[in-house]
């Protein structure tokens, strides 16, 4: 297979979309938090917690969508912790985020080990199966690439649309965007900055957890330690890459995933035999940085990102 063959194959794009799906959920979650002014470095741990919570719920007998809901709830719980510490108490968002990641990860592993002390190979669940959208899935190339995915992937794309609509078309989204830009403006209009920011962090964390759950409920069918494997950190980069805009962030996630899918395939080409595999693994990260350099000039950072808001101070 050469590059052209790869890039024009439906299977490649299907893989890109599949790999992108968990990133899309988590990126949207992070984007919501950052739009409201809170950098959520808890993302990596929240994804771990979501991956576990969703999976264990299904293993315990809930339906798959029930698992998604449980993951969302678990994410919201850690979001609540993050939000309480970082918003009304205004603690350093860096520390709180890293603390939440550490806590969520270790608590998850601990729970796993307490719940399943004896197993050698973790139990499997019946994961989401690909669902071919009638008619659309028959379109050449696009059909098999986009419309033969699992329902959770479709949900990821719907989420992007929903986030964009809420952010730009509703009073709530307006308040969120304003809270990340100038909290004083929000307070002066009689809204509670604390409530808006906390809400954004809690809901955003819920979506991060669903991103994690995608790994155990859709991409795979059981839970492993370390399976999130840095995906959360990538999403932080994707939010910046997407200039805090849902559509661009989606594009970023798909591009990143496409490079990931590409490197997997390039390892099999004649180049793959000579080039160290690490170089392929590096490719998505390096290209992300290059892309950031190219589009850096135009990005509009939420002005109050990482700026705590305390009514008593000016």
């Amino acid at each position: 297979m050469d590059l052209i063959d790869i890039l024009t194959s439906a299977a490649f794009w299907a893989a890109a979309i599949r790999i992108a799906s968990p990133l899309i959920f988590a990126t949207m979650g992070e984007l919501i938090c950052e739009r409201a002014g809170v950098l959520n470095l808890g993302i990596e741990g929240i994804m771990v917690a979501g991956a576990f919570a969703g999976w264990i719920a299904v293993w315990a007998g809930l339906p798959l969508w029930g698992g998604v809901a449980v993951a969302f709830a678990a994410g919201m719980a850690f979001g609540l912790l993050h939000a309480t510490l970082s918003v009304p108490f205004g603690l350093s968002q860096h520390v709180v985020g890293i603390g939440v990641t550490l806590l969520a990860t270790s608590l998850t592993f601990y729970t796993y080990r307490v719940v399943l002390p004896e197993v050698s190979s973790p139990p499997k669940i019946e994961a989401f199966q690909p669902f071919e959208v009638p008619i659309l899935s028959h379109i050449p190339l696009i059909g098999p690439a986009f419309f033969a995915q699992t329902p959770l992937t479709y949900a990821a794309f719907l989420l992007v649309i929903a986030v964009a609509l809420v952010l730009y078309r509703t009073p709530l989204g307006l308040a969120v965007r304003a809270a990340g830009e100038n909290p004083q403006a929000v307070a002066a209009q009689g809204l509670s900055v604390t409530a808006i920011r906390m809400g954004a962090v809690i809901v955003g964390s819920g979506f991060m957890a669903v991103g994690g759950a995608f790994l155990t409920l859709s991409a795979f069918d059981s839970f492993f330690f370390d399976m999130v494997n840095g995906r959360g950190w990538i999403c932080i980069a994707l939010v910046v890459f997407g200039a805090w805009k849902p559509g661009k962030a989606l594009l970023g996630a798909v591009l990143f995933a496409a490079f990931d899918a590409l490197q997997i395939r390039l390892q099999q080409t004649p180049i793959g035999a000579v080039v160290p595999y690490q170089l392929f693994l590096m490719m998505p990260y390096i290209l992300s940085i290059l892309a950031l350099v190219l589009m850096s000039r135009r990005a509009e950072v939420p002005a109050a990102l990482m700026v705590t808001f305390n009514k008593g101070e000016r």
Binding site: G90, L107, R113, V240, P276, L281, Y285
Partner: protein, 349 residues
């Protein structure tokens, strides 16, 4: 609800919250131990014993604190200038790589000059690694949180390549690890037979030096000015870009010393799992210390003691060892909250 600063917090007010925070995280640990079938009342003693119950335990705590002091200082110096260096992990590895490149026989020198040269070269490597994101920030305005974060992944893959390629130990049975340092390139141990090495002393000296830089030198003043208000600093004539770049060099260099000290002091060779996230924990250490260099030492010791103690405790009680990380996380979060509450009071509006 809002926070109001307390003008003169009394001693009790200053001491109570941290004490409560530590007690709180013990409570969390006890509860979780109970759930896992361990004895909740044994938690406290076991942690204390594990962290400081013997000379061995105490020195292990100091040992673990050593790299955290370096990465904590690296983060503290950068954050003070509002250079958000999340990449101490990669810079640590840069220092480690250089240590291995020079310390495995390339320079057949006596110990002291060899160690000095390796240390300086390691610092340079870490410094250069952070210089790239710093330049991207100053030249193109690229967010360094993201670039330094991504550099962690990139550099670790690069190290992986080195360990499977040019730096692979020919005697290593094929494992991705470097050759061992020659004895001259090892940091000597402070006490024979125990793992504590001179890297710890180097860490303490670094903290002191950084403290002096911060408080007594123009560079320290400039770094703080740029961090607090770059626009005002530029107007007042401070060369902002140059200060950011100098900060990056200093920060990257300090983080690299962590790698140097771990390889030359502890491991003697480089593997891909040299650091269990010291670069990230350094952020927490720095913030706990409120970015104060001497505070970094205390915070690093605190973090190390909690971890080492809780890890030993989990084994003593026969509960999953992930409990150590849980304790560490909850102690951290409660501690930052406690520090805040000792300075502010919560007022209801």
């Amino acid at each position: 609800m809002r926070l109001e600063p307390i003008a003169n917090p009394g001693l009790a007010r200053r001491l109570a919250p941290p004490a409560l925070a530590i007690a709180g995280s013990f409570l969390v640990a006890s509860l979780l131990a109970l759930i896992a079938g361990g004895n909740p009342f044994a938690v406290f003693g076991a942690i204390l014993k594990g962290a400081a119950g013997s000379k061995f335990a105490l020195l292990e705590t100091l040992n673990r604190a050593t790299p955290l002091i370096f990465t904590g200082l690296a983060v503290a110096v950068a954050f003070r200038a509002k250079l958000w260096n999340i990449g101490a992990e990669a810079q640590l590895y840069a220092g480690a790589v250089v240590t291995v490149m020079l310390g495995t026989g390339a320079l057949p020198w006596p110990s002291l000059p060899l160690l000095v040269v390796i240390g300086v070269a390691a610092m340079l490597a870490g410094a250069l690694l952070l210089l790239i994101p710093a330049l991207l920030k100053t030249r193109f305005g690229v967010d360094e949180v993201v670039t330094t974060l991504l550099f962690n992944f990139i550099f670790l893959l690069f190290v992986s390549y080195l360990l499977e390629g040019p730096l692979k130990d020919p005697m290593g049975m094929g494992w991705p690890k470097s050759a061992r340092l020659i004895p001259e390139a090892r940091l000597p141990r402070i006490i024979d037979g125990l793992r504590l090495h001179w890297g710890f002393v180097l860490a303490l000296i670094s903290a002191l030096v950084l403290w002096v830089i911060n408080t007594r030198t123009t560079l320290g003043f400039e770094m703080r000015a740029v961090g607090q208000n770059a626009e005002a600093a530029r107007f007042a004539g401070i060369p902002v870009t140059r200060v950011i770049l100098k900060t990056a060099l200093l920060s990257g260099g300090l983080a690299a010393l962590a790698g140097f000290s771990e390889v030359a002091g502890l491991k003697g060779s480089l593997t891909l799992d040299l650091s269990p996230g010291y670069g990230y924990t350094g952020i927490v250490v720095a913030m706990l210390a409120l970015l104060h260099p001497l505070g970094v030492v205390v915070a690093a010791l605190f973090v190390a003691a909690i971890f080492v103690g809780a890890d030993a405790m989990s084994r003593a009680l026969g509960v999953p060892s992930y409990l150590a990380d849980i304790m560490l996380a909850s102690a951290l979060l409660m501690m930052v909250l406690a520090i805040l509450l000792s300075k502010f009071r919560v007022v209801r509006d």
